[in-house]
Structure formats: structure tokens, C-alpha cells
């Protein structure tokens, strides 16, 4: 063994040997990985298999695609999906706002760290807290409207959460408020790591603030912005339960104005006692996220780097 170590490439030899001659005082990777693997297989593997089974059954009986046709024709499910779809409109807004915030922070010398902490702060706050506080803030006679009235723009003092046509957009505004900090930090980190020479060269050539950042910075930030867009799309499709649950007392109200797919699943399973429908809707949701995951991998490939090429 020692002989082969000396003759072979030292960077790969020990690892290969460790795997091949696992018995030689070396245990190999298996015992190291096993506990985590078992846990992941139980939580994800078992669950996903069970989910598929449940969505083809009704009270233990195989019913083929009946659950699927029930779910996709359920008006509430369609409403829920359409709300998730509408929330996707927040994604481009988030991308633009994050990019602008990041550029602003990048160009700021004085107090950059302070502003950065402030912008990022909403992202770490618990959604239940955000939901409760915004719920108070946006009451018909709440703090926001009293400020708007004091400023004389009475017309803007809407019933933010109580008006069915309004509630979902208010919700997406709150999600934007929270998520924009994440994008800003992500893009800013990439911006700082860009080579300074190109920026300086463009500046010397007389490129102004807007030209500089739209023509020189933006193209270089494309991978990270794309990553952020996909990440936020996943959030809008499948991670907004907390906002809706907290701000509407678990009802998705007013009426069904803020029911989203996650709430549909939760309510089908635990309030309407029809777990098969919930399982079927969950499976459809999983398939929807899968599409985004594929996009996710595509980006990683296009980033011209492997996962671990440090």
C-alpha cells in the first residue's frame, strides 16, 4: 500500500484505495453516511413514495386517477393555483428591486455595512411575527391608513387586507418586503467579487451611472440573478403558507381571496378530512417544483463551473 502511494498520483490514490480496500483498517464512507442517509430516506424517500400511493387511493382502495380529476376540477384548487400564479408576478419586481438595491449599496462608501444590515433584516424575521405586525399595520384604521390620511391622500387609504380584490396584492407586497433583502445580499456579494478593472475602464471611458450598470455590471450578474429568480419562483409557488395562514387565521380570506395551494392542501387534510385530495394536490405541487429544480440545475451548468470547483 505504501509503495503504491509513492508511485501513484498522491492526490487521488489514497481515496481510491480507501474505497477499494475498505477492509484495511479503513471503514470506507458507508458508516459515516448511513445515519444521515437513513433519516433522509425516511423523511423524503418514504414520504414521496407514500404520497404517490395515497394519491391513487381512496380509503385504501385503488381508484386510479380519480383523485386527480377531483382535484383539478375542484374550483377551490383552481383558485388556489391561480393565486400562486399571480404571486409569480412579484418575482420580476423582486429581481429589479434587488438589483437596484445591490448597485446602490455597492456604490455607497459611507455606511454601506449599516444599510446592508438594515436591508437584510426583514429576511431573518419570523414570518408569523411579520404577518401579525403587518396585519395590525394594514387595518382599515391602522397605522398606514392613518398616516396616508394625515398626508391628505385619503384615496390611497384602502382596506388592504379586507377587500377581496386587494388582499392578494397586499400579501405579495409583504412577501416582496421580506424577500428583497435576500436578493440584495446575494447580488451584492457577487458584485463585490467582480473584477474591478472592467468597471474602472468603463468609468474612464465616460460611462455614467446608468450606462455603467446596465451595460457592464448587469450582464456579469446574470447567473446570480437567474438563480434568485428561480429561488423566488419556488417561494411563490410553494413556500407562502406562513404568510397566508397567519394573516387570515388559516382561512385564506376574505372569502377565498388568498387561498394558495399549500393552504388548500392543509385545509383538505386537516379541516375537511380528505387526505387523499390533499395528497394528490401535494403531488401536483411537487411536480410543479420539479420543473423549477430542473431550471436550477441548468443554471448551475451554465455557470461554467462544477459544483465543487472552488
Amino acid at each position: 500500500m505504501i509503495k503504491s502511494l509513492q508511485t501513484e498520483d498522491r492526490f487521488t490514490a489514497p481515496r481510491n484505495l480507501g474505497a477499494v480496500f475498505g477492509r484495511l483498517d479503513k471503514s470506507g464512507p458507508l458508516p459515516w453516511i448511513l445515519p444521515a442517509a437513513m433519516c433522509i430516506l425516511l423523511i423524503f424517500g418514504y414520504s414521496i413514495i407514500d404520497l404517490v400511493q395515497q394519491s391513487f387511493k381512496y380509503r385504501g382502495e385503488w381508484v386510479g386517477f380519480e383523485n386527480f380529476s377531483l382535484v383539478v376540477t375542484d374550483p377551490l384548487f383552481r383558485t388556489a393555483i391561480s393565486h400562486n400564479f399571480l404571486l409569480l408576478f412579484a418575482v420580476p419586481v423582486l429581481a429589479v428591486l434587488s438589483f437596484m438595491c445591490a448597485v446602490l449599496l455597492f456604490e455607497t462608501r459611507k455606511g454601506m455595512k449599516f444599510y446592508r444590515s438594515a436591508v437584510f433584516l426583514p429576511y431573518i424575521l419570523p414570518i408569523p411575527v411579520i404577518g401579525v405586525v403587518f396585519g395590525q399595520l394594514l387595518q382599515l384604521n391602522g397605522a398606514l391608513n392613518s398616516a396616508l390620511r394625515a398626508m391628505g391622500i385619503e384615496n390611497l387609504a384602502l382596506d388592504w387586507l379586507g377587500e377581496p380584490g386587494q388582499a392578494l396584492w397586499t400579501m405579495s407586497g409583504i412577501i416582496i418586503w421580506k424577500e428583497v433583502g435576500f436578493g440584495t445580499i446575494l447580488i451584492l456579494a457577487r458584485l463585490i467579487s467582480l473584477p474591478l478593472e472592467t468597471l474602472e475602464a468603463a468609468r474612464i471611458d465616460g460611462a455614467g451611472f446608468f450606462r455603467l450598470h446596465s451595460k457592464v455590471t448587469l450582464p456579469q450578474l446574470k447567473p446570480v440573478i437567474l438563480f434568485y429568480i428561480i429561488n423566488e419562483a419556488i417561494v411563490m409557488v410553494s413556500w407562502v403558507f406562513n404568510y397566508v395562514y397567519v394573516m387570515t387565521n388559516g382561512q385564506g380570506g376574505p372569502g377565498n381571496a388568498t387561498v394558495v395551494s399549500e393552504l388548500y392542501i392543509y385545509r383538505s387534510a386537516f379541516q375537511n378530512k380528505s387526505p387523499e385530495l390533499a395528497a394528490t394536490a401535494a403531488l401536483l405541487l411537487l411536480l410543479a417544483t420539479l420543473i423549477f429544480i430542473i431550471g436550477f440545475f441548468k443554471i448551475q451548468k451554465n455557470a461554467n463551473r462544477g459544483l465543487f470547483d472552488e
Binding site: 489514497p14 433519516c39 407514500d50 456579494a189
Partner: protein
Amino acid sequence: MSKRYTSIEKTGITSRQLILILITAMAAVPGYLMVTGSLKTQEEFLNSPWSLPMNPNFNGYTAAWNDQFPTWFRNSLFVTLTAVLITIVMAASAAWGFAHWKWKGRDTVLGVLISLMVVPPVVLLIPLFTLGAKLGWISTFRMLILVYIGLMLPFSIYLLTNFFRAIPASLTEAAEIDGASDFRTFRSIVLPLSGPPLITLTIVNLLWAWNELLLALVFLQSDEQKTLMVGITGFQSRYSLSIPTIMAGMTIATLPLFIAYIFGQRYFITGLTAGSVKGE
């Protein structure tokens, strides 16, 4: 420095500062209303929600704390700490298995792990609930902790594997040539070098588990077992006539995070952005 800027550039800088101040204010508004509101009386809050509390009083805090806050707080602390601790140990071990040995299918498994990071918890909810019911584990902390561990593992393994792989092979090989076992190499070479990623990971996981609502809501159904996030969700409707109490409760729930953020900001930022495409 400032002398070198032209006047046009100066206006640019000032306006950018103004925009940043505006953004900061927008980020801070809910926090401001929450903290000032918690120190007012109901009447003061309704009359002038934006003013500073002129005669700060702590009745809201007393009321919130005398409710079940201490219990919820303890529950959250117990669930979060246990789950995160076990996750870190399992993830570090598994990541070493991924980083130290090259085995067939490793990259595929890592790819699957990455895609598991985006599986929404609500998808797993029903099968896990059925499983928990079969085991008689509904309304037990161990069920929730187990689920949390499973959900935190993919990201944790991914992050640590990335880090372990960046450790120069010469270091671990030197130890092996000296006859150190895999365990010894891991414990005395790899772990001492891994302080920052382990802290980052701990903070990110603590943040996630502390803030988690959906699973805690479903798996812990009795009132004494509620976690803080579930507790404050119901708290809102219970105290709908006393906004200062609600705000005080929210402040208490946010405080641990806020303090951690002030001191460990660097770790929050690296951790929460670490899942992104390589090259940050």
C-alpha cells in the same frame, strides 16, 4: 476623499444616500411600530400609532409573559436546539463521507440532495402525519425533531461537503501516512479547521427551525406543547383587544433572533447565501 468628486457626482451621491435612508426606513417601519406599540397603552396606539411612547409602560410585556409565553419559549428552545445539534453531527459525518472518499454515484447522490433542498415541506406533510399517527408519535416532540432533522440535512450536508472538499488533500494525507485512522483525521485535522462553516450552519438551521410554523402546527397539537411560532399565531386573535400585548409578544419572539443577528451578522449572510450558484 470628497474633494475629488465633481458637483454632479456629489448630487448623485446625496440622492443615493437619500434613497438608501428611505429603504432603511421602509425596512424598519414594522419593527418600529412593533417596539413602540408594545410600550404604549391601547388608547395611545389607536390615537397615534406613529408617535414615540411618551409614557412607556410594560403592561403589555407583563401580560404576554404571564400568558403561556415561557412555556412556548421553552418548547421552541428545546425542539430547535435538539434538532440542530443532531443535524450538525449527522451532517458533518455524512459530509466527511462525501468529501473524503470517491465512490460510484457520489455526484448523483449530491445532485439529488441539492434538489431535496427545494422540496416544500407541505408536500411531505400528509405522509409524515400518517406515519406519525401509525407510530403514535403525534403530539410528541420527537416526531417534530425527527422531521426537522430530515429537512435540515440536505442543505447541511451540501454546505459542509463543499467546505470539507476545499481542505487541502495534503493535510489529511499527511495524517493518514502517519497512521491516523479516518476518525482521527476527521477529528483532529478536519473539524478544527471547520469552525466558521459549522457556526454558519448552526445559525442558519437555528433560524429555520425557530421560525418554522407549518410542521409545528400539525405535529404538536396540545396547548402545552406549542412552539413559539404556533403560539404567537393564536395569540393574535386572543388579544385582539390589546394591541400593546400583541406587540409585546411579537417583540419577545423576535428578540433572540435580533440579538443573534447583531452579533453574528457575517454568519447569517454567508449561510443564507451559501445555497446559491457557485461564484459568490
